[in-house]
Symmetry: C2
Subunit: 216 residues, 2 copies
Amino acid sequence: MTTIPLSGRRAQAARNDAVILDAAREVFVADPSAPIAAVAQKAGVGISALYRRYPSKEELLAKLCLDGLLAYVAIAEEANAALDAGADPAEAFTTFMVRVVDADTHSLTQRLAGTFHPTDEHTRGAIRAGELNQHLVERLHEARVVRPDFALADLGQIFEMIAAIRFGDDERRGQLRRRYLALLLAGIFQPDAAPLPGPAPYVGEFAGRWTKKTEV
Amino acid sequence: MTTIPLSGRRAQAARNDAVILDAAREVFVADPSAPIAAVAQKAGVGISALYRRYPSKEELLAKLCLDGLLAYVAIAEEANAALDAGADPAEAFTTFMVRVVDADTHSLTQRLAGTFHPTDEHTRGAIRAGELNQHLVERLHEARVVRPDFALADLGQIFEMIAAIRFGDDERRGQLRRRYLALLLAGIFQPDAAPLPGPAPYVGEFAGRWTKKTEV
DNA sequence: AGCAGAGCGGAACGATCCGTTCCAGCAATT
DNA sequence: AATTGCTGGAACGGATCGTTCCGCTCTGCT
C-alpha cells in the first residue's frame, strides 16, 4: 500500500492523509461503531497520526459523512442533468441507482448519521439531496416509467435495504447488491402495477436519524 | 403490564417465564447486542429473575433463536403442504413470505446466529429449514411463476433486506415491511424476465454466520 | 555538521459498559 | 414462627475504547 516513493517527511504526511481517509471509510462503512484503533491498523499507521489530523473520532465521522453526502449530491445532479437533457428516463434512473449503490454513499450518510453532531454543511447537503431526489422522482412519474405509487422516500428505504447486504469481500458484495438492485428495479419499472400496500414512508420519518442520541 | 391478578408466588413465577421471553425477544430483535439489563427492565423484573431461568445470556439467546427457527420451520411446512395439496403456487408463496416477515423469524435466526454456540438442535433446525426452502423453490419453478434465475439462497437475502427495515413502532415497521415485500415479490413473479446480474448467493455463503466469532 | 521540531508509533490512563454474582427482603407454605 | 423459593437491584471484575502522552526518528534549515 506504500509503494509510492516518498521524498521527505512532508510527502509521507500528505500520503497518510489519503490513506487514513480511505481506511476510515472502509472500516466505518463495515461497522459504524468500530474503534479508532481499527482504522489506524487498517491504515498501517499509529493512533497519533489520526489525532494529528482530526481532534476526535466524531470529527472524523463527520468528515466521512460529509464526503459521502457530497458524492451522493454529485451523482444525483448528474442524473437530473441527464434527465433534463432528454435522456431515456428508465436508463438514467438505473444508472443513477447503480452508481449510488456502487459508491455505497448510503452507508456513509444515513448510517453514519447519529454518530456525530451535524454541522450546517451537513444540513445543507441533506436538504440539497432531498431536492434532487424529489426532482428525480417527479421526472420519473412524468415519464410514466415507474409504478404510480413509487414515492420519494421509497428511495432512501431501498438504499437502506441494499446496504444491509454485507457479504464477503468487496467484489462479492458489489455483485450481490447489483443483483438485488436489479430485482427491486424490476418491481419499480411497472407503470401499470397495482399499488403497493401500506402508506409509503414520508421524508420526516428519516429525519430523526440525524440527531445524536447522547444529547441531553 | 402486570394486570393479571396473581394468586401466589408460584403464579407470578409462571407468568414471569412468558413475560421475560417476550421482553427478550423484543429487545434482542431490535438490537442483538443489547445488555441483559435492558431485557429485565422491559420485562419489569429484576435481573435475578432472568438468571434464575437461564444460566447465561448466551443460553437465553440460544433459546430465542431456536424458537424462531422452529417458528420458521412451521410456517415453511405449512407452505409446502399447501403447495403439495394443489394450492395456487403464487398465492401460497406470498402467504408464506408475509407470515415469515410478520413473525420476523429472520431477526431471531440469522441475526442472532453467532451470538451463541449452536446446539445440535439448532443445526437440525437449520438443515430442516434448508430442505423446506429447497422444496418450496423447486415447486415455484415447476409452476413457472417466478423468474427462472430465482435461487434458493435468494430467499435468505431477501429476508435479510426486509429485516433491515427498522422504523418506528411495531405497527409502522410491519406496514413498511409488507410494502417492500410486495415490491420484491413484484420483481420475483416475472417468469419471463431476463436474468438478474451476478451469480446468486449460494447456501454456503450463509453458513459462516452460525459459528461464534470469539472461538479460539 | 548539528539542531529544533514536526510527525509518528504505541503504551498508559480513565471512563464507561456489561455480564454475572451476591445479599437482604418478602411472601407463601409448613 | 420457621423455612424456603423467588425477587430486586447493588456491587464486582473484566473488557473495551477514546484520548493523552512520551520518547523516538528523520527532515529541513542554519
